[in-house]
């Protein structure tokens, strides 16, 4: 996020797109709800009438996968009605003319046709957004989990820059991260193209610096594979050895049948985890790891805050800290790593090698954590980025983007759109929440959420068993008939193995990020006889 959670409660204008915050980020949602009941304007853009909509001034139920058309339409109005921030655009951004040319192709009427909301609503959104400054934009996976995920993000950034909203408290572009340390795993360089702190592997200086620190002659310069490429690599033989640390790929990746075929093709699969999972079934070696609260360390949250994690219990049996396991493997391959605790690793390696975190030391984050960039030990951290519109990269790039439909759209055979996500009570593949007594009592099975109209047309009653079928698979699941769903759409989560949405989802990916289009595929539903 460019900004902080503390801004949510203070914001005067909030624009939420593709984020079911009350379920996926419940505590973040409390601040948005507080802002709304205290008078802030809240616009929620989502095909579903999500929990946050109950607090919104305006709900914009766009069709699944029409975000770019809708946002281009809003920007068309901002420019044509002269509502954008000219001074900001001139002094802080580049590319306005190209963006303008592109959004001129999306008059509200055309955007309305694609997105399914009226041209007047699009005008209303634009005028509202221009009426309060700054406005804060938040998004989640509804934006990124599309074949045009990168373009969706660029669209959000375009609108916020056009409005002059980036670089201020209570403004910015704010993706809420789904997992406790997904921000941190990125920051630490668990990505194929960057070292810790986003220092690129194809930069010779960065390679030289890390090679010296790690006492190796050279480091690989070619960016590596992303998860979907790794899985396909198992199938076509490019990847022989696969090391899966704490991920249940067999449930989380789209098209489970395909994923399982890939996993079973691995010549050698190591799984390092805290529980046996559907993925460890395929392993050749399973390494038992210490869990949360069984060792010291740090997590980095969505607002770039590095927080401490502390030991409360001993790991069971012979389970070991993950950092220790990696170190032991390196030792067996001839490398002696010095650091012997998480604190050592952070203070003596990460902080030394990562300029944006150079000022973060364990001693400084005993209480509240610090938000990077923290370039030095006397720096208090950064609560929002790009202050006053001075972008880290120089000028903010306005990037024209075109709308594309989802890779798979409904047709006669599969007439509905399936979109997927998370529910309040469970977390991902339930490896954790399924083992926390009590949670299953509140939500013990998956449902397929459908609209009353689709239910009526097929003679389906609430609670009846239905089949949901895509080109890749079929699941039998209970129907949850709810007026929070629009006609033509089915919604499911991936928490329960039997009715996991990923039996159905489409392995079509954003070309840049290889993020799968979990939010859109074509399905049919039938009442089970």
């Amino acid at each position: 996020m460019t900004n902080s959670f503390a801004d949510f409660k203070k914001a005067q204008m909030i624009f939420v797109i593709g984020s079911n915050m009350t379920e996926a980020h419940p505590v973040a949602a409390t601040f948005v709800k507080q802002a709304a009941i205290n008078g802030a304007q809240l616009i929620v853009v989502d095909p579903r009438r999500t929990g946050l909509v109950d607090f919104a001034n305006l709900h914009v139920p766009i069709k699944v996968g029409s975000d770019i058309a809708f946002l281009n339409g809003v920007m068309n109005v901002l420019i044509n009605e002269d509502l954008y921030d000219k001074k900001y655009v001139e002094s802080c951004t580049v590319g306005f003319e190209d963006l303008k040319a592109k959004v001129m192709e999306y008059p509200p009427e055309r955007a309305a046709e694609i997105s399914g909301v009226s041209a007047d609503t699009i005008r209303d959104v634009a005028r509202r957004m221009a009426s309060v400054k700054p406005a804060m934009l938040m998004y989640t996976l509804g934006i990124t989990e599309h074949i045009c995920g990168v373009r969706n993000v660029l669209s959000c950034a375009n609108m916020q820059m056009l409005l002059g909203n980036v670089g201020f408290e209570c403004g910015g572009v704010n993706p809420l991260r789904g997992q406790n340390n997904v921000q941190g795993a990125c920051d630490m360089g668990a990505l194929p193209n960057v070292f810790p702190g986003y220092q690129r592997v194809d930069n010779p200086e960065a390679r030289a610096k890390f090679a010296a620190a790690w006492s190796v002659e050279k480091l690989p310069e070619k960016p590596g594979m992303m998860i979907p490429q790794m899985l396909d690599g198992l199938l076509d033989g490019k990847v022989k050895g696969f090391y899966v640390f704490g991920e249940n790929l067999a449930n989380t990746e789209p098209d489970i049948r395909h994923v399982e075929k890939c996993l079973s093709s691995a010549e050698f699969l190591v799984c390092q985890d805290i529980f046996p999972t559907e993925t460890t079934w395929f392993a050749h070696v399973i390494l038992p790891a210490a869990a949360w609260s069984e060792n010291d360390g740090t997590f980095t949250n969505s607002e770039r805050r590095v927080n401490r994690v502390r030991t409360a219990s001993k790991p069971p049996g012979d389970a070991k800290p993950n950092w220790w396991i990696f170190k032991e493997i390196a030792k067996r391959m001839g490398q002696k790593w010095k650091s012997n605790s998480a604190r050592d690793i952070w203070d003596k390696e990460i902080a030394q090698l990562t300029p944006s975190m150079a000022g973060i030391k364990y001693a400084r984050i005993e209480n509240d954590g610090l938000q990077w960039p923290v370039p030095s030990e006397d720096h208090a951290g950064t609560s929002f980025l790009h202050a006053e519109g001075c972008f880290t990269c120089g000028l903010g790039a306005l990037t024209p983007v075109d709308w594309v439909p989802p890779a798979e759209v409904p047709d006669k055979e599969y007439p509905l759109t399936l979109s997927t996500g998370r529910r309040l009570y469970h977390y991902h593949t339930r490896t954790q929440t399924g083992r926390s007594p009590g949670i299953d009592d509140l939500m013990g099975e998956e449902t397929a959420d459908i609209s009353p109209i689709d239910a009526r047309d097929r003679g389906i009653l609430d609670g009846e068993m239905i089949s949901v079928k895509s080109r890749r698979g079929e699941v039998n699941v209970k129907a949850n008939v709810t007026d929070r769903m629009p006609e033509g759409m089915v919604w499911m989560a991936f928490h329960f193995r039997e009715a996991c949405a990923n039996w159905l989802t489409n392995p079509a990916y954003d070309p840049t990020t290889q993020t799968a289009e979990y939010k859109a595929c074509a399905v049919r539903i039938d009442k089970l006889k």
């Binding site: 505590v27 997992q179 630490m188 640390f245 009592d441």
Partner: protein
């Protein structure tokens, strides 16, 4: 110096919109409260923060009375203490306040106040037990013991104004007053989403964690601060630990980013680590089945196999996925292993999903 008022005979500065409670707190004058909840609209319901305002007819509630210029406030006169003591005595008579078996024993504002005022025995007639509402605990996480409820309304404030889940409110009238969900249904048939904020703010033993029952008194537990293992908000938690085991989780107050809040997963989803399903020893697949192995055997095998693959097919024939739930230091080590030891950039995690 800005505007001032007189507090216990001393001239004290105050800020715009200060209540007597705010201004007194800033200069270290303590006024006891029960119903006051920071960040929510003061209700003045419990009458515990009564103070004397010179010229005022009755005692006033410090939590809801704004300070005005030149106001004279007395917080510890005999009249004030007499009124507060009587309020405690009235609250004690309103329900079943038997500390010995109460989960909140040692962490109870009512108990603290009764102790402070030296209340040894009930002054007023106790409400008969059969007239009290029965306990509601049909859900897995929260025990609602109405016999201990003092109707301070902190839970209502927290639910409606802080987490804004709008699941509970005051119900019925007069002596039948009760904190209710819509239709007075049990929590798990109501709008309640089990964030447990009501439990967090309950000053007595009316709302308690079911899972923590009997597992440790407040003075027996060590409180360890940590970060929640679920979503990317990164809520700050207190782990209440006894004998090396987490018995309860509460929110860290006044801490960023969660400002004293948690959700169902953060508050009640901590005990998966104690599941019997945990992997406890390295396992090696042999003839289609897993057998237990020592660390040395398992790690030697992993290293040998990877070395083999690297020699035969090059380092890019190895790929790895790191964990977005584990600590930074683990991800750092894994990418270091891949880059510096194996010699490949084939390292990724679920960053974009």
């Amino acid at each position: 110096m800005g505007d001032t008022f007189m507090l216990n005979g001393k001239e004290v500065e105050f800020k715009k919109d200060d209540t007597i409670l705010d201004a007194a707190k800033r200069v270290g004058v303590e006024i006891p409260t029960l119903c006051f909840l920071k960040g929510a609209t003061p209700t003045g319901a419990c009458r515990m923060c009564l103070v004397e305002v010179v010229g005022g007819r009755a005692l006033m509630t410090a939590c809801s009375t704004p300070v005005t210029k030149g106001m004279e406030v007395i917080t510890d006169s005999e009249r004030v203490h007499k009124a507060r003591k009587m309020n405690v005595e009235l609250l004690l008579s309103s329900g079943k306040h038997d500390c010995i078996v109460c989960e909140a024993n040692g962490c109870c504002r009512l108990q603290d106040l009764a102790y402070f005022y030296g209340i040894k025995e009930p002054r007023f007639t106790q409400t008969p037990v059969e007239e009290l509402y029965p306990v509601e605990d049909v859900n897995p996480f929260i025990v609602r013991d109405f016999s201990r409820c003092i109707l301070c309304g902190r839970c209502v404030q927290a639910c409606n104004e802080v987490v804004v889940n709008r699941a509970i409110s005051y119900g019925y009238r007069g002596s039948a007053n009760k904190i209710v969900t819509g239709g007075d249904l049990p929590y798990n048939d109501s709008e309640c989403v089990f964030c447990g904020q009501c439990v967090e703010v309950c000053p007595v033993g009316a709302l308690t964690e079911k899972k923590a029952k009997g597992l440790g008194r407040p003075w027996e537990v060590e409180k360890i601060r940590t970060t929640c293992p679920y979503c990317g908000v990164g809520c700050q938690q207190w782990l209440h630990v006894k004998d090396g085991k987490i018995v309860k989780v509460t929110a860290v107050e006044n801490a960023e980013p969660n400002q004293g809040r948690l959700c169902i997963k953060g508050r009640f989803g901590y005990d998966f680590i104690y599941s019997e399903d945990r992997l406890k020893t390295p396992l090696i697949r042999e003839n289609g089945k897993f057998r237990e192995a020592s660390w040395d055997e398992a790690l030697d095998l992993v290293a040998a196999k990877f070395k083999d693959i690297m020699e035969q097919h090059g380092p890019d024939a190895i790929a790895g996925v790191s964990c977005a739930r584990s600590i930074n230091e683990d991800s750092y080590q894994m990418q270091k292993l891949f880059r510096a030891t194996f010699g490949t950039n084939n390292i990724d995690h679920c960053a974009r999903t």
